[in-house]
Symmetry: C2
Subunit: 383 residues, 2 copies
């Protein structure tokens, strides 16, 4: 099987956008064509990562609309949904389309338009991914985050402040990301004194509701060289599920889908966690960054909080995490987030990350759906 390469990437401004999802997808898609130098007629497959355009906007069939808007017809299209990890699932679908030989040029565009709905409405749409019994009891994803944060702090004797430091770090990174929804620093007191949402988590422990889109161009490595010498290869990729019902998990502070999907990706890449230079993790809630940094094997179980306290995941640390600002500061337009994670790794590995550039040749993106219900992990390397 031939190696799959990324030869272009783009993302729109994330935040509150006066545009429908179709327009956001087109904006990112056109920018990705421009970045990669690929003509739209060369696209064989066009995937759209999106969770809920039907529920949010009453508009479905958006991949077909995008093929039309990008002049990519008759490219094959489909929508890939894996709830909040639709972007990562789209990366996997795009990879498979090239690795299987079905497509020699695949564009993936992820996007979601959410801010026209209230936070309560958006949270309700997202909560439709939970088990009906959970939903009936009002246990939305923020509730799970609060319960898990409490369990983690108690079990591993971690201070409340350590969670807040994830927010402080990721906001500091977001300052240097011109596409981020929030490009402003926050200090520890601001986080710790913000309104309680799901005790012990407060407003600044949560990612915002966001509109936005991101796009990637995939092709076989042999074709990549026709477009650029500065491409990135996908060395490993895997996906896995955990229980649909969260309370059935033996240990809610371990995300089984992160463990399992990363093992597949590490094995395929023939790499270890130590080989990673940077990572983009799914910090929808601050607590999730601790869990993933442990379940991916970066730090021992129960010590992820110490790594943050010690600055080891800062931009000048040994393993910078969420140089993009993460979902926390960059924003979390559901279907776009997993694509934007890979965009960030691509930008870092191709040395085009501007003021937030770090020294990295290998990077990992971990995209989490639900409360760890389904996960994809992607490992990339600079050419």
């Amino acid at each position: 099987m031939e190696r799959v390469a990324l030869i272009g990437a783009s993302m729109t401004q994330f935040g509150q956008r006066d545009a429908w999802v179709r327009e956001l997808l087109s904006e990112a898609g056109l920018a990705c064509l421009d970045d990669s130098g690929v003509e739209p007629a060369a696209i064989d497959h066009l995937y759209v990562s999106n969770m809920a355009s039907g529920e949010f906007e009453g508009q479905t069939g958006i991949p077909n609309a995008l093929a039309h808007d990008l002049a990519a017809m008759p490219a094959y299209t489909a929508r890939i949904d894996q709830t909040s990890s639709s972007g990562g699932a789209g990366v996997y679908a795009a990879w498979q389309s090239v690795a299987s030989g079905a497509s020699d040029m695949t564009m993936l565009v992820g996007g979601e338009k959410m801010t026209h709905r209230s936070t309560a409405e958006a949270t309700d749409v997202i909560a439709s991914l939970t088990h009906p019994v959970e939903y009936k009891h009002g246990v939305t994803l923020p509730s799970f985050a609060g319960l898990t944060a409490r369990l983690y702090l108690d079990t591993y004797d971690a201070p409340r402040e350590s969670l807040a430091k994830v927010a402080v770090k990721n906001h500091a990174n977001g300052v240097d990301n011109p596409h981020a929804q929030f490009q402003k620093e926050v200090d520890l007191d601001t986080v710790l004194e913000s309104p309680i949402v799901a005790d012990p988590l407060r407003l600044y422990d949560f990612c915002p509701i966001t509109d936005g889109s991101a796009a990637l161009m995939f092709c076989p490595e042999s074709i990549a060289r026709e477009y650029t010498d500065d491409y990135v290869t996908i060395e490993g990729i895997g996906g896995a599920t955990d229980t649909h019902v969260v309370h059935e998990r033996a240990d809610p502070t371990t995300m089984g889908g992160v463990v399992d999907s990363s093992q597949i990706a590490y094995e395929m890449a023939d790499m270890d966690p130590d080989d990673m230079d940077i990572a983009e993790l799914h910090d929808m809630f601050t607590i999730l960054e601790f869990l993933q940094s442990e379940d991916l094997g970066f730090f021992e179980k129960g010590t992820g909080w110490k790594a943050v306290e010690e600055g080891r995941t800062d931009r000048d640390g040994e393993l910078p995490i969420n140089t993009s600002g993460g979902l926390k500061s960059k924003g979390h337009p559901l279907g776009a987030s997993g694509v934007a994670q890979v965009y960030e790794i691509y930008a870092q590995l191709t040395r085009t990350a501007g003021n937030r550039q770090v020294d990295a040749d290998v990077g990992l993106a971990c995209n989490v759906g639900g409360f760890g219900n389904c996960v994809t992990t992607t490992i990339m390397e600079a050419n």
Copy 2:
């Protein structure tokens, strides 16, 4: 690349079902495990074809729920949506997962639960796939069917009765399909005297609103032999789009997505239309069976109606079309339909189609999304 095989298939009773989509998916999934002899723990990837569980039921994340219900965790899961051709897109995704080497055992389950909503509500959800301008003008899919039928009859001098004969033929086939929603014959007069829906099309020119699910098991051919000697191989598969805005098409009686997707599939299979022994076409409306039978190359443009008139597509004809009863008589649970088409070809090629069995070694399934907006075509051969 190794050839991909189908080693098991199942479908639930189609019709008005007192079960949610999660239950329908589980029913088909468990039956497919049983049919294939595969243990759930052996499943690497699990795809769900579904258009709108969020809009119809307020339930998303159904692939994750299914992995749980089938005890297939931690199998990777994702939902594949291509509106009414979600099933065919799922077949393509499942094929890619095996052909790429990402999965050695992939289950695909397609399903939709619709009958708890009124026909008007269901039609409105489906119409959300059209262009916003079309939607605003009230042009739903049945409207396009009426306009296109009028154009076809006028252009090719075809009698109104020829359309009705598609319904008569497919209902006759449905009598012998125990899973079909309608297992009763209709005569020409009943069709021609049924209420007008979109002139010249009448009630019996349309498929019903349906609940149901269907499932397939895919693996590399080398592994297939461990389970059965009686498998089916996927010889060719392709997908393509046509314009999102229907009125932009040069000739609305030609479905470009059918032409383009079948050319990819024929080329991959190194076969011609003449090599097909049977076909399942997307007869959401009777007129669509004419268009597809021509655009797939079975009959000259403008002569599909004659083929039906002459009985050439009957079960004892030279190319039986829709031996299952088609969407017309079997029913059309959106995400399940493309999967159920492949189920029928699998059943015919493995000589397990019961009273509707025909003599066939090669078969084709064509699944159409929207009004030809996106299409997948799959060619299968008996081992």
